[in-house]
């Protein structure tokens, strides 16, 4: 088996994880695919070291996170400006998802575990970037508040506020469906 074929098998093992890491941070499928492609092109350059390494997954996740954050930083002025233009009220935040969550047939039938996860994932996607990015870094990437503040170049207080607002927005959205309301 030649290197490219081995690499393709390696890539198929990790592609979902890399793509998810990028998508959660960036919030766009097309851009996340571009980032994932860049991650695997870098991985190919280091394939000799990564092949068979138990830390390959961690390496790929870190590169995916860093490339995604670099991408966000590049377009930072835009997403920050527009995210701050997003409506703060419940009406605006629940736009689009509220109908799905409040649909009576879904509430009455009781959602399956997979549906609940899908709804939580959707609720996360619907958060404005200013709340979603710190929340993802905290809950998925296990970064501390201080690390997030340093990485995004914002104050510690703003990180805490954004994460708190993000959690509250998730709670409001999920509480619309009693089947998946968090305790």
């Amino acid at each position: 088996m030649s290197d490219p074929l081995q690499f393709e098998a390696f890539m198929r093992d990790y592609q979902n994880m890399v793509f998810s890491t990028a998508w959660r941070l960036i919030g766009s499928e097309a851009e996340a695919e571009d980032i994932a492609q860049e991650v695997f092109l870098k991985a190919y350059e280091h394939f000799e070291e990564l092949r068979g390494s138990p830390t390959a997954g961690g390496w790929l996740k870190t590169v995916a996170r860093n490339l995604s954050l670099n991408h966000l930083t590049r377009y930072r002025a835009r997403w920050r400006f527009f995210s701050e233009c997003e409506p703060e009220g419940e009406e605006g935040e629940d736009r689009g998802l509220a109908g799905t969550l409040a649909a009576p047939e879904q509430s009455n039938q009781g959602a399956e575990a997979a549906d609940q996860r899908e709804m939580l994932a959707q609720a996360l996607d619907k958060l404005p970037p200013g709340q979603r990015i710190p929340l993802v870094l905290y809950h998925f990437e296990d970064l501390s508040y201080e690390e997030i503040a340093a990485r995004l170049g914002i104050s510690l207080g703003k990180v805490k506020t954004d994460i708190h607002r993000g959690r509250e927005a998730l709670r409001r959205r999920l509480s619309l469906n009693p089947e998946i309301a968090l305790t």
């Binding site: 490219p4 393709e8 793509f19 695919e33 492609q37 092109l41 527009f82 689009g96 996860r117 968090l182």
Partner: protein
């Protein structure tokens, strides 16, 4: 929204953290792997001189380093000689002869700038103020329209 007691909020946050961590990875698009493999093949097919320097053959890297060093040395030697003034007169004369065809253009440019300065001087500060305000209003209108279009586009995407 009623505020929660601290212990209840902590429990809720822990539950949220657990649920988020349990979210499965999203399936990558089917196009990802073929795209990456195509890029790898395209890069492998490139001749060595079109790849990044780090991927050049060792011999080519050594030769390129020597060539760059030689160029830098030559540039330094030339600068030192120019600074000593030996070549100053020759270079100035050469520059004048090379730039001679551009003399009418330079003269036209100078005249235009002088005319503009005269207009500004005679019109006074109020005209400048009005022009600046007009520019600012136009800029803010563009930003405002951009924001409105973005909101409309995002609203349509989410609806």
């Amino acid at each position: 929204m009623n505020p929660q007691p601290p212990d209840r909020r902590e429990a809720w946050e822990a539950d949220l953290h657990r649920r988020l961590k349990e979210l499965p990875d999203r399936p990558a698009p089917r196009t990802l792997a073929p795209r990456v493999m195509a890029m790898i093949q395209a890069r492998a097919a490139l001749p060595w001189y079109r790849r990044t320097w780090w991927h050049w053959p060792v011999l080519a890297q050594v030769v390129s380093l020597l060539a760059v060093s030689a160029l830098l040395g030559m540039a330094t030697w030339l600068l030192l000689h120019l600074a000593s003034g030996q070549w100053e007169a020759t270079v100035t004369q050469e520059a004048k002869s090379v730039l001679a065809p551009l003399a009418p253009l330079w003269s036209l440019l100078t005249t235009l700038v002088e005319a503009l300065a005269l207009v500004v001087k005679s019109a006074g500060g109020s005209v400048l103020l009005i022009a600046s305000s007009l520019c600012l209003v136009m800029y803010l209108s563009c930003v405002g329209l951009g924001t409105v279009f973005y909101r409309v586009a995002v609203g349509r995407r989410n609806s």
